[in-house]
Symmetry: C2
């Protein structure tokens, strides 16, 4: 997300002092932010309204990109549920510190739960990973211990195993997944969670990832935590109401917030990632020469006016 | 932290259902939580009140363990500042999503800032890393790209380089560091930050880590985010007041909250970490066989009554 471009760069007490200093000592190499700001129009892709959810809370709008390339059945179900207004009037009923917020209908008795919207299935297959065949994958120069290869696919952070021939979406900050019970195929897309803490990569390949938040994480990340150990609110009045979750394509055009994402196969994205792997500004004394998959910002901007 | 023991285990919509199921299908191997709960008294160490800070906010108390073994000069200064009530009445003036909260005195003009407490130095050396000589280090079985070796030292997550002979504290969720300007030795411990997002490991060896939050992260992590890109509040009324920051040893015993931490060199800690590297419960279909340094929970409990 755009705000993260500068995120690890500066921990100064006095930002204005820094800015003066930076102007005086012009860096010889471009920062990640400068690279992204200078990226040509062709390096950006516009978010498809048909694959975009608007989650409206009283505090504002959370914008989500769905991942039909990885979880086609779940995404189709989520679209049917959104069309039917399934989540409207339901709530975020769980907030666990350094882990997730979760929303949907927490009613224990299945028969008492909100009926599924027209066209939504009660039962879906697990979609933990998919075949790598024919799938573009831009590998990061760095690997990690969670996957043989990591990189980006369809603009999402992903892991890949050349042996199994499978690719899967990784759990990073902002990842949207479909909560399930013990059975692998027990998610239907009604109960969703968003990762709000240290990337819970142990969940990779154990649960169906259906998308990611591209704007508005700061609305979800500050939701008061529920009690330990799992953050489910005990008092129903603590739940955070969901005004509505709608597909962007079903919202009148005048009410949409069209966004662009930097293409993860663009030169600008690769150069910005390299600029973050090795910080060359004056502040950094020891460039890491490394970046973790979930530390790579995925730049977002409003669609330019012209 | 204790609450995190279960954190990645369960993403179910219906916790009570799960509990019934777990009772029915008794796991053959112990979970991390069961291992920690069964740890002998000798596996726990009691937090030293002389190295513990109580940061009292209106919302409650944040408890911090200082790291004099890694940042002796900064810790000595922070103790002098706490004794002098330096932060009392100051504020958290920055909250950047997926990165840090920062507190102290944000006044731009150095001369107008709150005077340092008696015994506190205006100038300190950078304490980014220390010699590994004579320092116990419990290596994780997994490494990462940020450091040649990772593990725990003095109970803190740490990186180590056998070539340079240095060890340093890692930036994980809850890490407390001393904000600085461009010069490496420009921190004096008055401006502090706590990591509230994806572990910003690129900061390792670039800034002085002075401790970590052991309880109360859920009070810091929900602080409303300031504006992009860096989260400094523009309106002073948005700042979150600090009631006081005191050394636990200077608080009357009746008002203390004595805590114990699981020793990172204990058998229980190693077994619990292994149980998290490879989840053996019914829910996990694909145990990761790996854990990142910053995904390892550091269990905390109140000192037992007996």
């Amino acid at each position: 997300m755009r705000k993260n471009l500068l995120c690890a760069a500066l921990l100064l007490a006095f930002a204005p002092m820094l800015q003066a200093q930076q102007n005086a000592e012009k860096p010889k190499v471009k920062s990640a932010k400068e690279i992204v700001d200078a990226a040509p129009a062709s390096a950006w892709r516009t978010l498809d309204p048909a694959n975009t959810l608007y989650m409206d809370l009283k505090a504002g709008r959370v914008i989500i990109e769905l991942a039909p390339g990885f979880a086609p059945e779940h995404v189709a179900n989520i679209k049917a549920l959104a069309r039917g207004g399934y989540w409207d009037g339901l709530s975020i009923y769980r907030s666990q510190d350094n882990f997730v917020v979760q929303f949907g209908d927490p009613t224990e008795d299945e028969k008492q739960r909100k009926p599924l919207s027209t066209g939504a299935k009660a039962k879906l297959p697990a979609e933990f990973e998919r075949s790598s065949a024919g799938l573009a994958f831009d590998a990061l120069p760095d690997s990690d211990g969670w996957a043989p290869q990591v990189g980006f696919s369809d603009g999402f952070p992903a892991g890949r195993d050349p042996k199994s021939g499978k690719t899967w979406l990784a759990h990073c900050y902002g990842t949207l997944g479909a909560g399930r019970d013990v059975a692998a195929d027990s998610s239907n897309g009604t109960e969703l969670y968003v990762a709000t803490g240290q990337s819970p990569r142990a969940l990779d390949r154990n649960i169906t990832v259906v998308g990611r938040v591209v704007q508005g994480m700061e609305l979800l990340s500050v939701i008061p935590r529920g009690p330990e150990p799992m953050g489910f609110y005990k008092e129903t009045e603590r739940r955070v109401p969901i005004v509505s979750i709608k597909l962007a394509s079903e919202v009148p055009e005048a009410e949409r917030l069209p966004l662009q994402l930097l293409k993860t196969d663009s030169v600008a994205f690769k150069e910005a990632t390299e600029a973050r792997r090795n910080r060359r500004d004056e502040w950094y004394k020891h460039p890491a020469g490394h970046i973790d998959l979930c530390n790579v910002p995925l730049p977002v901007r409003p669609v330019p006016k012209n």
